[in-house]
């Protein structure tokens, strides 16, 4: 039931990437940062080849989106624009990342079928590539958030130091989500459209454009929404809110549960995935 590749390292390969098994796939995959880093970065370059602004299109389109939606919804929801705009900006940027991590995660293995069937790599590499690509996009959008803060004269507070940790957590969430959905969607082709729809609906249930305060006694809608907490761990440090322990616990808890699930799927189905593609 197994493929065992043992290799001596004196040869050209520094780390033999083929030398993994279902249970070490996640670890080997995440460790192969050179592979997914290069491929993910290549995807970004590819998307904006021959364009003048290149990846800064992400920055520009986020800026337009935030300004237009910010002006509109601060009126509709009766919010003070100087606090609403930064709030919305972080929410939108993190949401974009999470939504594309989920949606593209569904196609992680299907889309990389041409590689999976040709060369033995940890499957997690293909997922990390997507997570990294979306993470780079997230980083290109973050300046917009900082800009909205500076325009209204908010200066970063010491909490900003937590931002790198929050970003790391977000990236890791992208990895387990991609592994889990990638495996499930490779086997059951109906799951991808279902997930896409759920993501769309979830956008309206998650406090991205509105703040949970307006829910009043229905605040549990936000309190039990893991997506809300994922946004919150990034939003807190950026807008300088005191550390929200609940959100960090949710985010870390989700990470543990998620990776356990992904590891279980890998153990069980890693070797089946190439047959399903």
């Amino acid at each position: 039931m197994n493929t065992l590749v043992t290799s001596d390292t004196h040869l050209s390969c520094d780390k033999n990437l083929a030398n993994h098994n279902p249970s070490s796939d996640l670890l080997f995959g995440i460790g192969a940062y050179q592979v997914w880093g290069t491929l993910g970065w290549h995807d970004i370059k590819q998307r904006y080849r021959r364009s003048v602004l290149g990846p800064f299109w992400f920055t520009l389109s986020t800026l337009i989106m935030v300004v237009v939606l910010g002006l509109l919804y601060s009126q509709l929801l009766n919010q003070e624009i100087s606090t609403y705009l930064p709030y919305l900006a972080v929410g939108l940027v993190v949401w974009q990342y999470l939504a594309s991590a989920v949606n593209e995660g569904c196609a992680a293995f299907i889309g990389s079928a041409y590689l999976i069937k040709q060369i033995r790599l940890p499957l997690t590499v293909h997922v990390c590539r997507i997570a990294w690509r979306n993470f780079v996009i997230l980083l290109h959008s973050l300046p917009v958030v900082i800009l909205t803060l500076l325009v209204f004269g908010h200066w970063p507070t010491p909490e900003i130091l937590l931002l790198p940790v929050a970003l790391l957590i977000l990236w890791l969430q992208g990895v387990w989500i991609g592994v889990a959905l990638g495996i499930l969607c490779a086997r059951f082709r109906d799951i991808a459209p279902i997930v896409t729809n759920l993501v769309q609906v979830a956008f309206f249930f998650t406090p991205v454009m509105w703040s949970p305060e307006i829910l009043k006694d229905r605040a549990w809608v936000a309190d039990f929404n893991p997506l809300y907490h994922l946004i919150e761990i990034a939003r807190g440090p950026i807008v300088g809110k005191p550390v929200l322990l609940v959100s960090w616990v949710w985010a870390l808890g989700l990470l543990i549960v998620g990776f356990t699930f992904a590891q279980w799927l890998m153990n069980k189905y890693r070797n089946r995935v190439p047959y399903w593609l």
């Binding site: 039931m1 197994n2 065992l4 043992t6 033999n16 080849r49 069937k117 033995r120």
Partner: protein
């Protein structure tokens, strides 16, 4: 070792079926059990020792390429076990992963990364690959602007630039016009010469006679004969 491919027809691939099966507790279960399975390889046993030059022969669909894919680690055996000692280079589809929109140099780099090389090592190889492919300044252009012959040259140069203990090949590679073809042949031969095991699938018995010292015949996913090939008569 055995390999079976489940063939999911539309109905089997959907979640609906699985959920219905769960809820109706096995009544439709028979139906799910009927999903067609192609046994691509069945009861395959062999041991290739150092120095083996193995030729795989067989009709189309006899399982040659599937066996090569199993050897290269893409498909894990459904039954049994595969043990590989050493590094593997598979030349199954040489134009694998050539990105038409990226330049020749970028493609060399990407392929090196996929093979697990570090950037310094790749950079040292780039010159060698560029030299061999004779593509010169074209390497700065996107691959989609290449003629198909040029693309093959690049693909060949890239995939034969790796060193490995075990080489897996689907048909003996040959590329290019007369002059290049001779150069390619000698490069391939030196690559194979350095490797300790070669497995090549082919339809050409004369190739087997020329390079192989062992020949496996496959039919319907089974080995029907496994015999040594006499050393070629010195020319």
């Amino acid at each position: 070792m055995g390999v079976e491919f489940p063939i999911y027809e539309n109905s089997h691939r959907s979640l609906k079926k699985a959920v219905l099966n769960l809820s109706t507790g096995g009544r439709i279960g028979q139906d799910a059990g009927k999903q067609s399975i192609v046994t691509a390889l069945d009861n395959i046993n062999f041991y290739f020792e150092e120095g083996a030059r193995v030729g795989l022969l067989g009709h189309n669909g006899s399982g040659k390429t599937t066996l090569l894919r199993v050897l290269s680690g893409v498909y894990s055996p459904v039954r049994g076990e595969l043990r590989v000692v050493g590094s593997i280079a598979s030349l199954l589809d040489v134009s694998m992963g050539l990105d038409p929109d990226a330049t020749g140099f970028e493609n060399i780099y990407l392929r090196g990364i996929l093979d697990g090389l570090n950037p310094a090592k790749i950079r040292s190889k780039i010159d060698e690959i560029a030299d061999f492919s004779e593509l010169g300044d074209y390497l700065n252009l996107p691959v989609r602007t290449y003629s198909s012959g040029m693309m093959l040259r690049l693909a060949f140069a890239i995939s034969t630039s790796i060193e490995a203990d075990i080489i897996i090949m689907d048909e003996w590679l040959s590329v290019g016009d007369a002059a290049f073809s001779a150069k390619a042949a000698s490069r391939l031969e030196s690559l194979v010469g350095k490797a300790s095991i070669l497995v090549v699938a082919t339809h050409d018995p004369s190739l087997v006679a020329r390079v192989c010292n062992r020949k496996l015949m496959l039919e319907h996913g089974r080995i029907i004969s496994d015999e040594p090939v006499a050393a070629p008569v010195a020319a």
